[in-house]
């Protein structure tokens, strides 16, 4: 009776001692902030931040390789707490929101072939662009909707709509989109962007889409250079947006193809 108790007990003690010794000899000096941040993160290891685990994410944040707002699940609340640990002020963290740089839905999308294959953007993109005439526009199968961790994207008439209130700017939709039509832009009021990604000359854009940017440069003139047309595609210079007063209503109205979108 005594022997098995003794054996199990002593084995436990021996292994315990070995582990304690190992803990001390193999101790890795770590940034104390790492533990603090790790305790702030949700600990769900959801992977929405792009790192395999919460620990990996915390490590990247401490090393400054990942932004303080990396944690998608925790949202603003966690970001604020991490800001405090890292000693960064919340204002400096630029919050971004996703917009779709394309404006065709099922009614306006020009099709040159009927695509019957696997119903994802990724697959359609590989097969001659899914029969869509424009080689740069949104395919409308909603791959972005699938990956959105907060369900901010919904499909309506074959064009994803993004709920800007829900969007946390994680950029997973940007990654998954094979056409690269989704872009993260700084949050502004009003939110203005050019909803086209076609870099071809106006004539060619017109052939494939009624709503594409034809590089007429009207927006460039009206906004006093806030828009810039390069590669036959107009883009808003977001970094200068706060320095200028622009009549957005007029701008949106004057765009001949209506590809400048505004949201209040």
């Amino acid at each position: 009776m005594l022997l098995p108790l003794l054996l199990m007990g002593s084995l436990g003690v021996i292994f315990g001692i070995i582990l304690v010794v190992a803990e001390h000899t193999f101790r890795v000096e770590e940034d104390p902030r790492l533990k603090e941040i790790l305790s702030l993160l949700p600990g769900a290891n959801c992977g929405a931040c792009g790192f395999p685990s919460c620990e990996a994410c915390a490590r990247q944040i401490v090393e400054g390789k990942a932004p303080v707002n990396s944690c998608v699940m925790g949202g603003e609340e966690v970001t604020e707490k991490i800001c405090r640990v890292m000693g960064v002020s919340m204002e400096k963290v630029e919050r971004k929101v996703a917009v779709i740089n394309c404006n065709v839905d099922n009614l306006t999308r020009k099709i040159q072939a009927d695509y019957q294959g696997i119903q994802t953007c990724q697959a359609a993109h590989l097969v001659m662009g899914g029969g869509m005439s424009c080689a740069y526009g949104c395919l409308g199968f909603g791959d972005c909707m699938e990956v959105c961790p907060v369900e901010a994207i919904s499909l309506k008439d074959g064009l994803p709509r993004i709920d800007r209130e829900k969007c946390i700017g994680c950029g997973r939709c940007v990654e998954v989109c094979p056409r690269k039509v989704i872009e993260l832009i700084p949050r502004h009021k009003p939110l203005v962007w050019v909803a086209c990604s076609n870099p071809e000359p106006g004539k060619k854009v017109r052939e494939v889409c009624k709503k594409g940017c034809i590089a007429c440069k009207v927006c460039e003139k009206l906004s006093g250079g806030l828009f810039e047309v390069s590669d036959f595609l107009s883009r808003l210079k977001y970094e200068e947006i706060s320095h200028k007063e622009v009549d957005w209503e007029k701008l949106v109205e004057k765009c001949p193809t209506g590809c400048i979108l505004k949201e209040d």
Partner: protein, 194 residues
């Protein structure tokens, strides 16, 4: 002797495959077989821990438990050894081999509760293997596990794009495939005796 090693090696991969023939370690087999690279990581981690387990539990069983007539204590003792071993390895890797540590990541602590590891420790006693043979057996069983995981992951990656009926997507088709694979591996029976 060399032939015997080879036969043990071969049978652990095919006829006596820990997953397909004994249905041990099914949890990680279904859990971490979604992608090839994670499957490889888990497979390597299991192989490594299995080999070390055999290295340590064999002497404990034959030098301590058997002489003192305490064979009935083998399961708790083996569990104790495996759990401590994994803990120890985790600490050691973190210090000495940080790259391996991050590569194995979450899988290392997961192995603590992997029944395949305990299964191997018990099998090698049951089959009355010698010391070196036990280590070879454990190593090849680990490789067999890794192989099963990799086959499954390869199939599941292909399945992502397959036009499956809605009700079969996810777990159901995975279980069906696991069954078919086990059936296929039964075809190896008779290849190696014992």
């Amino acid at each position: 002797m060399g032939v015997k090693f080879f036969l043990i090696f071969l049978s652990a991969l095919t006829t006596q495959n820990i997953v397909f023939a004994y249905f041990l370690g099914i949890c990680p087999y279904l859990g971490v077989s979604r992608k090839l690279d994670t499957a490889l990581g888990m497979g390597m981690a299991v192989t490594f821990v299995m080999t070390l387990t055999a290295l340590i539990t064999w002497p404990i069983f034959y030098k301590i438990l058997q002489p003192h007539d305490l064979v009935y204590l083998q399961i708790p003792v083996f569990i104790l050894v495996i759990a401590s071993l994994v803990q120890f390895l985790e600490m050691y890797f973190r210090k000495a081999l940080p790259h391996l540590y991050t590569a194995l990541g979450i899988y290392l602590p997961l192995i603590t509760t992997n029944c395949a590891i305990l299964g191997v420790a018990l099998f090698m006693i049951l089959k009355k293997f010698g010391y070196i043979l036990s280590v070879v057996y454990a190593f090849s069983t680990g490789l067999g596990f890794a192989m099963a995981l990799l086959i499954m992951a390869g199939i599941r990656e292909e399945l992502e794009m397959a036009p499956l009926p809605e009700s079969l997507k996810g777990a159901p088709i995975t279980l069906i495939i696991a069954g078919l694979l086990a059936l296929a591996f039964m075809g190896f029976s008779g290849l190696v005796k014992g």
